[in-house]
Symmetry: C2
Subunit: 465 residues, 2 copies
């Protein structure tokens, strides 16, 4: 039977405490929809508390819709995910979902979440606590639009040390995620501009441009970069790329292409390059190729990076580095926007970087994922699928591609994998122009799976192919 | 002489620790630009550490630009706010500012920050710590686009209890500030729509619409609301208002006006009302007038509210409640956006609300500010300016208006106040159409000033008027 300890109850009434315990179990899914709750009498005996207390707790849950009662049968857990429970509004569209789309897979090769236990919880928690106990005035004071001074200094220093980039803290604009910053960039650069992204690419980026009703075109990636002349031909104003680690191809744009693009950008006043380094810190081989920002002398590159990859996708801190000309425009037109990241987290992150924890954390992540990657490749090479797949490594980040030799169609392979609780995504899904896509190439994003899960997944894939 | 304790040094090298201490003092302004640092020998003697250690610390500060050296004179603190210090980029435009525009005034009647010491730091810190030590998987898991489930449940419950609003958690979309959510709303409702705001009003709102290149018109507020017929006449699609506490007039829109607006909204499919309750929890008299959301039966009202007022403007958590039809569209078109608030703060806030701390906090704030308001009015009534000012109270929030009888011009009064370190803002500044504005009415926002400061400020104002 359901059992709760009252050791941590504190001073609140017993029935409220019990109500909260049950509610939490319902929200967290420990009590399943339709599950019967203990009868009041049995529950009272089990917990050693009065029937009235149980009754009050049930009453509260009932009034809020967490449970429902059936005459003479008892109390049952409501399906809170499927139904609107507070009040009478009933929204039943399938696409209106409260929960994130976490289904538990044996192995999800599409997820780019990193493993939860890699996050340095205890250090972060300590720094946060210390910050919260320090200078209260400072914590409560509105920071400048670009973010708190300390964090921008820390990032400038990090960029110098890690990417040899010479950046002034003023140029750094901190925001709650890269997606938000792209919205700000559109306001800064203009809704009337022609934006271009790479094909294939990270789907979200073009969706954001579309969602802002700006013109966004797709330029095919060939030979590790977009084709010469494509920018002029398509009258592109702003080019959004990830030259240091293309997603999902993993290619590194060669220096000659970079200069070609910078030369295009220098050709007109309104042209800019958005250099989106979504995971540069986690590339596993440190081939030191300079950022486009560092080789640009014409103030044409907007550099973007994020802590959502290196720390956690659930900490929403990204930043961009604006070239001087745009910076002036930003402060003239957009300084009124309040910074979207809370001061508490900004100050905590500043200390996390300044005191060396960020560097340690990155090194730890890189070592961990390098080993994991090597292990996965070993598993594949030692398994029955060895002859059926060709691993396309390119520049090593948290994913690679495999090309599969199989009589089954791409769709069939994905469906068969899903049948076995393995989530796969084909490279072709990342292409706008499907005719460019190689068939039967799949993305293997191994960042969220455990080694055990990877072993099982490879075995299952062997049976499928 | 500069002195630091090495008690908290930990395991890092002494010179690095010293470097950090000095750097922090420079960033925080304890060491002023141009200030001379102690000579290495004197400093070494004073701290009881070797000259080499001091030298290494100074070298580090020098290389990062925090200090500069003058031959034979020694080391001096750089002006880090005025100059780009990391690297060679030099941005000297006056409007490119690193620091927030906090100037220390004797009294700043334009600031809407609340007093720092009212924030429940110890409770928040404890809840945050507890959350960070609990379910790590959950903290690292991407929440749905609208925010984490627990917080949306908590807000739905709060809205029920506090505003008697019947809202399903699915309808609640959490975002990093109201400004961000307005950007999302524009993407949801359309860039081609005609938006309308009140004149006078909160300037930021119309700036956001302008910045998105949407048409935004200003409708004059008369008789506690916009004029009948103004919406039809101007072909407005979306009306953005604060009916429960107009800013800055403080008026409460009467129920008849509310029905009039709802009736307009019902007249066409694409019409919506954005009900922006930026400070409803802090209205000091609890006149229970229902929200427009609650009296709307046609799914025409988008309700917005924020924790930036009740908790702190530096915690960026706001939310909106979408009517059913828009909710579907949101999930179809905009669900790809990641939630912009970090999980850590979402879970902490959920517990803060669920465990009753939010309600307690609001009550405490209301009591505190009610007393402060009464005290300020007492001071005014007991002072020499009593006969020169007329207090316009309206619905009491964290500000009121005063109408001044003086031979001086409005501009002169503001300038004279500023001369005496008092920051005043005229009501006319909030008007787009200046001809509508009453002259010599000033906003008295007393939320950030201490009682002592208020007393002094009233005395000074007495001399000026």
């Amino acid at each position: 039977m359901l059992t709760y300890s009252f050791a941590e109850k504190g001073s609140e009434p017993l029935y409220l405490y019990l109500y909260r315990c049950i509610k939490n179990d319902i929200i967290q899914g420990n009590l399943k929809p339709g599950e019967r709750l203990p009868s009041k009498r049995a529950f009272s005996k089990n917990l050693g508390i009065s029937v009235i207390t149980i009754e009050n707790a049930y009453e509260q849950l009932l009034s809020e819709g967490y449970i429902y009662s059936q005459p003479k049968r008892g109390y049952f857990v409501s399906d809170i995910k499927a139904n609107a429970i507070i009040g009478k509004v009933s929204i039943t569209e399938e696409n209106v979902v409260l929960s994130s789309d976490k289904k538990r897979y044996l192995c999800d090769f599409t997820s780019n979440q990193t493993e939860a236990n890699l996050f340095p919880f205890s250090v972060w928690s300590r720094l946060m606590r210390e910050e919260l106990s320090k200078d209260h005035e400072r914590l409560m004071e509105n920071p400048p639009s670009g973010g708190v001074l300390e964090l921008r200094f820390a990032i400038a220093k990090h960029l110098k040390e890690f990417r040899n980039m010479t950046v002034s803290p003023e140029q750094i604009i901190i925001g709650a995620g890269t997606e938000y910053l792209i919205g700000i960039l559109i306001q800064l650069l203009g809704f009337d501009k022609t934006y271009a992204v790479e094909d294939p690419g990270y789907g979200k980026v073009s969706r954001i441009y579309d969602s802002h009703h700006t013109k966004c075109i797709f330029l095919p990636v060939k030979d590790k970069g977009i084709e010469e002349g494509a920018l002029e031909k398509n009258n592109v104003d702003i080019l959004h790329i990830s030259p240091s680690h293309h997603y999902p191809l993993g290619v590194l744009m060669p220096i000659s292409k970079r200069y070609e693009i910078l030369s295009w950008a220098a050709g007109a006043d309104d042209r800019y390059v958005i250099e989106d380094e979504y995971d540069s810190e986690l590339r596993l081989n440190g081939k030191p190729i300079p950022t486009m920002y560092s080789i640009d002398v014409m103030n044409k590159v907007i550099y973007m990076n994020t802590f959502t990859k290196t720390l956690s996708s659930t900490i929403r801190i990204s930043y961009m580095v604006l070239p001087e000309k745009l910076l002036k425009k930003y402060y003239e037109n957009l300084f009124f926007y309040a910074c979207t990241v809370s001061n508490f987290e900004q100050y905590t992150l500043a200390r996390f970087i300044n005191e060396g924890y960020f560097e340690k954390h990155i090194n730890r992540m890189r070592n961990y994922y390098r080993k994991k990657r090597e292990h996965l490749i070993e598993i594949i090479n030692g398994s029955s699928i060895r002859k059926k797949v060709n691993i396309i490594e390119e520049e090593a980040g948290l994913h690679f591609l495999i090309e599969v030799k199989s009589k089954k169609s791409e769709k069939q392979i994905i469906a068969d994998a899903m049948e076995n609780s393995i989530r796969l995504r084909a490279l072709s899904e990342f292409y706008r122009d499907k005719s460019l896509a190689k068939e039967k190439v799949f993305l293997i994003n191994y960042s969220s799976a455990s080694e055990e899960e990877l072993e099982k997944a490879v075995e299952v894939l062997g049976n499928i192919l």
